[in-house]
C-alpha cells in the first residue's frame, strides 16, 4: 500500500506514525510545500520571541523520518486526479497513490477589508507568515492586532516582547467572549493591563490605510478612530485550505466534506484535521475543528480506517489549553461562556486574581459535573476526564478536589479556600475536603 499524505502538520504526521505502527510494511510519503520537516505550528510565537530557534520547533530530529521509512517530499501539489490516483507536483513530476489523505490545514481568514492587501498586513499561521512578521515589524513602533481569540493575544505578546506597542481590537464586549465567561475574561484582561497593552472592546476593523509606497500607515475602527500603525495582524480565525481539493472532484463546502470515518466522496481519498468538514458533526460539536489536539486525534483515527480498521471519529471529552501572557488556562468537558438552562456553575477566584476555577454541573440532583475551567492553576487531565465521564456529583468532586491538583510541589494549595467558597455559595449540602494534594500522591 502506498499512502500519500498531503500536509506534514500534526494531522498528517500523526496519521503517518499511526499507519507505520499498524502496517509496518506500508509505503508512506508526506508531501508539504511549507517545510521540509514537520514543525510545531503552536510554537511559532516562541521563535519570534527568541525563546527558541527555528530548528527547535521540530518535534522530531531529522533522522527520525528516514529511520521510520517515512518519505518526505518538499513540493507544492498542484493538481489531483482521482480517476488515475495521481498527484501532480509543481516540479512537473507526478506521484501515484493507493490511498490519499488530505491534511492541508488552514489559511488565515480575511473579511475583505479595504486595504488588507497592503504590505505589513498579515495573519499568523505558517512559516512564511512568521518570516513576513519578522521582516515587517523591524524597527516599527506600533502594531494593531485584530481579533480577540488565541492568536490575537499571542500576536500582542509577540509585539510586546519586541518593545512594539500593540493595540488590540476585540469585537465582543470581553476577551474571547464566545468561549470565556465574564469572570475568566476579566482575568485575561488583567494580563493585558499588567503588560500595559491597550485593548479596544466592541471595536472592529473598518479599513486599513496605506501610504504612497503601499505600506500600511493606519487603521480605522468601527468606532471611527484612526490608529496610526506600521503593521496589522489579522487574527480573526482560519479557514480550510481547499487549494488542492478544488482541482479535483472531491466534494467541498467550507471545508473538505467527510463522513464520520473521515472519508471524502471519492474512494481512497480521506481528509482530516483543519481542512475537513464533518457532514454530520456529533451533538454539540462543530463541523470544522481547527485545533492541535483535534488534528492529532483525527490523524490517528483516519489512520485506522486507512489500514482497514474502519474507525469513526469520536472526539471524546473536550479539552483545550492556552496561555495568556503569564496566565495559564486549561479547560475540560462542557464549559460554555454564558448561562445555559439546566446548568449551574461554581466559580472561585483567588483574592489576588492570579488563579481561578469554575466547575460546571447539572442543576438537578445529583448535580453531575460536566466541565471545568482552570486559570493560573493546573488540573490533572485524567482526573477531570474521569469525573466528567462518570457524571460524578459536584459534592464528591469538591471533597476530592486535591486529587486533581497538578501544580508543582510547594505551590500554594487552594483546595481549602475553594471548598469553603463552594460551601458559602451552595450551602444546601456542606462539603468537607477529604483529599488534599500530598507530597506522594499520584493519580494516573
Amino acid at each position: 500500500m502506498h499512502l500519500v499524505i498531503l500536509g506534514n502538520g500534526i494531522t498528517g504526521v500523526t496519521c503517518a506514525l499511526t499507519v507505520r505502527r499498524l502496517q509496518p510494511e506500508a509505503r508512506i510519503t508526506l508531501v508539504s510545500s511549507e517545510s521540509a520537516h514537520h514543525y510545531s505550528r503552536t510554537a511559532l510565537m516562541y521563535v519570534y520571541m527568541g525563546h527558541l530557534r527555528a530548528q527547535d520547533i521540530k518535534p522530531y530530529e531529522d533522522w527520525f523520518w528516514n529511520e521510520n521509512r517515512l518519505a518526505l517530499v518538499h513540493a507544492t501539489a498542484t493538481a489531483l486526479n482521482t480517476a488515475e490516483n495521481l498527484l501532480s507536483l509543481a516540479d512537473g513530476t507526478t506521484l501515484a497513490y493507493d490511498q490519499l489523505l488530505l491534511a492541508t490545514g488552514s489559511e488565515s481568514k480575511l473579511f475583505d477589508w479595504p486595504g488588507q492587501e497592503l504590505a505589513g498586513v498579515q495573519g499568523l499561521y505558517n512559516l512564511p507568515d512568521l518570516e513576513a512578521m519578522t521582516r515587517d515589524t523591524h524597527g516599527i513602533s506600533r502594531g494593531v492586532v485584530v481579533g480577540g481569540g488565541l492568536i490575537g493575544v499571542e500576536l500582542a505578546e509577540m509585539l510586546h516582547t519586541r518593545g512594539i506597542e500593540p493595540v488590540v481590537l476585540v469585537r465582543d464586549a470581553r476577551y474571547w467572549g464566545a468561549v470565556l465567561p465574564p469572570e475568566e475574561a476579566n482575568l485575561v484582561d488583567r494580563q493585558f493591563q499588567e503588560n500595559h497593552i491597550s485593548v479596544r472592546y466592541q471595536t472592529e476593523l473598518r479599513e486599513i490605510l496605506g501610504d504612497a509606497q503601499g505600506r500600511v500607515r493606519a487603521v480605522v475602527t468601527t468606532a471611527g478612530e484612526e490608529i496610526a500603525c506600521q503593521w496589522v495582524g489579522l487574527a480573526t480565525g482560519v479557514t480550510p485550505n481547499l487549494a488542492l481539493a478544488s482541482t479535483s472532484n472531491v466534494e467541498t463546502d467550507r471545508g473538505i466534506l467527510v463522513d464520520e470515518f473521515l472519508r471524502t466522496n471519492v474512494p481512497n481519498v480521506f481528509a482530516a484535521g483543519d481542512c475537513a468538514q464533518h457532514r454530520q458533526p456529533g451533538a454539540g460539536e462543530v463541523p470544522i475543528e481547527q485545533l492541535w489536539y483535534t488534528g492529532r486525534m483525527q490523524g490517528e483515527t483516519v489512520a485506522h480506517t486507512i489500514c482497514g480498521q474502519a474507525t469513526p471519529y469520536r472526539r471524546g471529552i473536550w479539552f483545550n489549553s492556552a496561555k495568556f501572557f503569564n496566565l495559564e488556562y486549561q479547560t475540560y468537558g462542557y464549559a460554555p461562556a454564558g448561562p445555559v438552562p439546566g446548568l449551574s456553575s461554581f466559580y472561585w477566584e483567588h483574592p489576588g486574581s492570579r488563579a481561578a476555577v469554575r466547575v460546571y454541573f447539572r442543576s438537578e440532583a445529583p448535580h453531575a459535573v460536566v466541565g471545568f475551567n482552570a486559570l493560573g492553576l493546573r488540573l490533572r487531565h485524567a482526573v477531570c476526564e474521569q469525573w466528567i465521564a462518570r457524571r460524578t456529583p459536584v459534592a464528591t468532586v469538591m471533597s476530592q478536589f486535591g486529587s486533581a491538583n497538578f501544580d508543582p510541589e510547594f505551590f500554594p494549595q487552594h483546595e481549602k479556600a475553594i471548598v469553603a467558597d463552594y460551601n458559602r455559595q451552595f450551602p444546601g449540602q456542606p462539603v468537607a475536603l477529604k483529599q488534599r494534594k500530598g507530597l506522594f500522591s499520584i493519580k494516573n
Partner: protein, 453 residues
C-alpha cells in the same frame, strides 16, 4: 527549515545599561587590582571590584526581571550574543577557561607565599581569610570566594527571575544556603579551629579522595574524633543516605538542591541552560563517557585500597598513577576547565551530564530504584519544545511529553525548569508509588515508534 531573519531586539533601557556599566567597572577594578604594584591600593581595588560587581549584578537582575510581571521570562534568549553563542559568549568562555587554566597550573604557592599569576588577587583576601580560617589566603580560598559569590549573586538573579514558582525559589535558596554554609563558611571555620578542611556536602565518588586510604588516614590522624566522624559521614552519605534519599526524591535532592557544582549551574549557569545539546548523538556520547568515568573512579579506588591493604606490594603503583592522571584529566580539566569554562557555549551542565561519577551513580539509582518521575498531564502537550529547550541536561523532554509518557531518565537532575517553562501545564515532578511508574497517559496514544534507542 527556512532560516528566518532575526527579529529586532528591543533597546536596553538606560537604567539597565547603567547597572551593566557598574558590573563592567567592577571587572575593570579587578584588572587594576591584578596589575597594581602597590599592595594597599591593590586591596582597595579588589574590594571595590567585588562591591561594584555585586551591586551591579543585583541591581541589573532587579531591573531586568523584578520590574516585569512575574512569569516565564526568556525573551530574546537565543537572539542575544551573550546567551545565543554570539561573540560575547565566546569571549566569556575564553575568559572563564583561561581563569581555570591559570588557577590550576599557574597559581601554585612557591613556598614563600607567592601564588603565581593570581598572586595579586590572593593577597587582598588575607585579612578576610585570617578572620574566617585563621590563616592567610591561598589560590583556593580566592577561588572559593569567587565561586560562592557567583552562586549568591546569580542566585539573587534566579530568585527574581523565577519568583512566580515556589519550587524554583525554594530550590535556589537551598543551593545558595548549602554553598555559603557547607562549602564555604564551615570548611573555613573548621580550619580556624585547627580541624581538617572538610566539605560535608561532597561525597565519594564526586569528591573521590574522601574514601581513599590517604584521606581516610589523614582525617583520622589529624581530626581525632571529628575526623573519624567525617570518614563515617562520608561513607554513610555515599552508601546509605544517597540510595535512600534518591529512592524517595530522585537524584535532585543532591544535584539541584545541595551540590556545589549543581549550585553554580543553577545560578551562574542559568542564562546558558538552553545551550545543552538535545540530539540523540549527544545522548550517546553522554552514556559512553559518564559511565566510563564512574568505572574508572571505582577501579582506582579499589586499586588504592588493595595497594594499601597489601602493604604496597600488590599491583605496585598502578593505583597511585591512576589517581594522579584521574586528578588531572577528570578532576581538573573536565570538571573545572571544560565544566565551567564552556558554560556559554555548551550549557551549564557539561560536567554534570558527561563527566560526574556521582551523577552517574545517582542516575542509575534514579532510573532503577526510585519513586521519582516527571508526569505528563494527559493529552495536553502541544509539542512546542519549550521543555526540551530549558533542559540543562540535554534531555529531549518533548519526546516523552508528546507521547503522554512520564520522563524517567538517569540524567534528570530535577531542576523542574521544564515544568516551569511549559506553557500548558503539562509537566510535573512527582514522587509516586513505583507501580505504574512508566504508565503513559491513556488520553494520548503513544505512536510506539522507535524514537529513542
Amino acid at each position: 527549515m527556512t532560516p528566518t531573519l532575526s527579529p529586532p531586539l528591543p533597546a536596553t533601557s538606560p537604567a539597565e545599561k547603567l547597572t551593566l556599566a557598574v558590573v563592567a567597572g567592577g571587572l575593570l577594578a579587578l584588572l587594576l587590582a591584578w596589575a597594581d604594584a602597590d599592595p594597599a591600593r591593590r586591596t582597595t581595588w579588589f574590594w571595590l571590584a567585588l562591591g561594584l560587581v555585586s551591586a551591579g549584578t543585583l541591581a541589573w537582575s532587579w531591573l531586568k526581571f523584578g520590574q516585569h510581571p512575574a512569569g516565564v521570562q526568556q525573551d530574546n534568549l537565543w537572539l542575544r550574543a551573550s546567551t545565543g553563542r554570539g561573540a560575547i559568549a565566546w569571549i566569556t568562555g575564553l575568559v572563564l577557561t583561561g581563569f581555570y587554566v591559570v588557577l590550576y597550573w599557574y597559581s601554585g604557592d612557591d613556598g614563600k607565599g607567592n601564588f603565581g599569576l593570581l598572586n595579586n588577587l590572593v593577597h587582598p583576601l588575607d585579612s578576610f581569610s585570617q578572620a574566617l580560617r585563621g590563616r592567610p589566603a591561598d589560590q583556593w580560598f580566592l577561588y572559593g570566594t569567587f565561586y560562592t559569590l557567583a552562586i549568591l549573586l546569580m542566585g539573587g538573579r534566579a530568585l527574581w527571575k523565577y519568583r512566580h514558582s515556589r519550587y524554583q525559589v525554594i530550590r535556589t535558596a537551598s543551593v545558595m544556603f548549602f554553598q555559603l554554609g557547607f562549602a564555604f563558611l564551615i570548611p573555613g571555620l573548621l580550619q580556624f579551629f585547627q580541624q581538617p578542611e572538610f566539605y560535608f556536602t561532597y561525597f565519594w565518588p564526586l569528591h573521590y579522595q574522601y574514601l581513599w586510604p590517604s584521606d581516610v588516614h589523614s582525617l583520622v590522624q589529624n581530626g581525632q574524633a571529628l575526623g573519624v566522624f567525617m570518614v563515617f559521614w562520608g561513607a554513610v552519605m555515599s552508601f546509605v543516605a544517597t540510595p535512600v534519599l534518591t529512592y524517595f526524591y530522585g537524584k535532585r535532592w543532591y544535584c539541584s538542591w545541595v551540590c556545589g557544582c549543581g549550585g553554580l549551574a543553577e545560578t551562574a549557569g542559568d542564562p546558558y541552560r538552553h545551550l545543552s545539546d538535545k540530539s540523540r548523538t549527544a545522548w550517546r556520547w553522554e552514556v559512553r563517557i559518564i559511565y566510563t568515568v564512574l568505572g574508572l573512579i571505582i577501579a582506582i579506588t579499589a586499586l588504592l585500597w588493595v595497594h594499601f591493604a597489601t602493604g604496597g606490594t600488590l599491583l605496585g603503583e598502578a593505583g597511585n598513577v591512576g589517581a594522579k592522571w584521574y586528578g588531572f584529566a577528570i578532576g581538573a580539566v573536565f570538571s573545572g576547565v571544560i565544566g565551567v569554562g564552556f558554560y556559554p557555549l555548551m550549557g551549564s551542565r557539561v560536567w554534570c551530564r558527561f563527566g560526574c561519577p556521582m551523577a552517574a551513580y545517582l542516575g542509575l539509582l534514579q532510573k532503577h530504584f526510585s519513586r521519582f518521575r516527571i508526569s505528563t498531564n494527559g493529552a495536553q502537550c502541544i509539542s512546542c519544545g519549550n521543555c526540551s529547550n530549558v533542559c540543562e541536561m540535554g534531555i529531549d523532554v518533548q519526546q516523552y511529553a508528546q507521547r503522554g509518557e512520564p520522563i524517567i531518565r538517569a540524567s534528570c537532575v530535577g531542576c523542574g525548569m521544564c515544568s516551569t517553562a511549559c506553557p500548558r501545564g503539562v509537566l510535573n515532578l512527582e514522587n509516586g508509588p513505583r507501580e505504574g511508574r512508566y504508565q503513559a497517559s491513556q488520553l494520548i496514544h503513544a505512536d510506539s515508534l522507535r524514537i529513542l534507542s
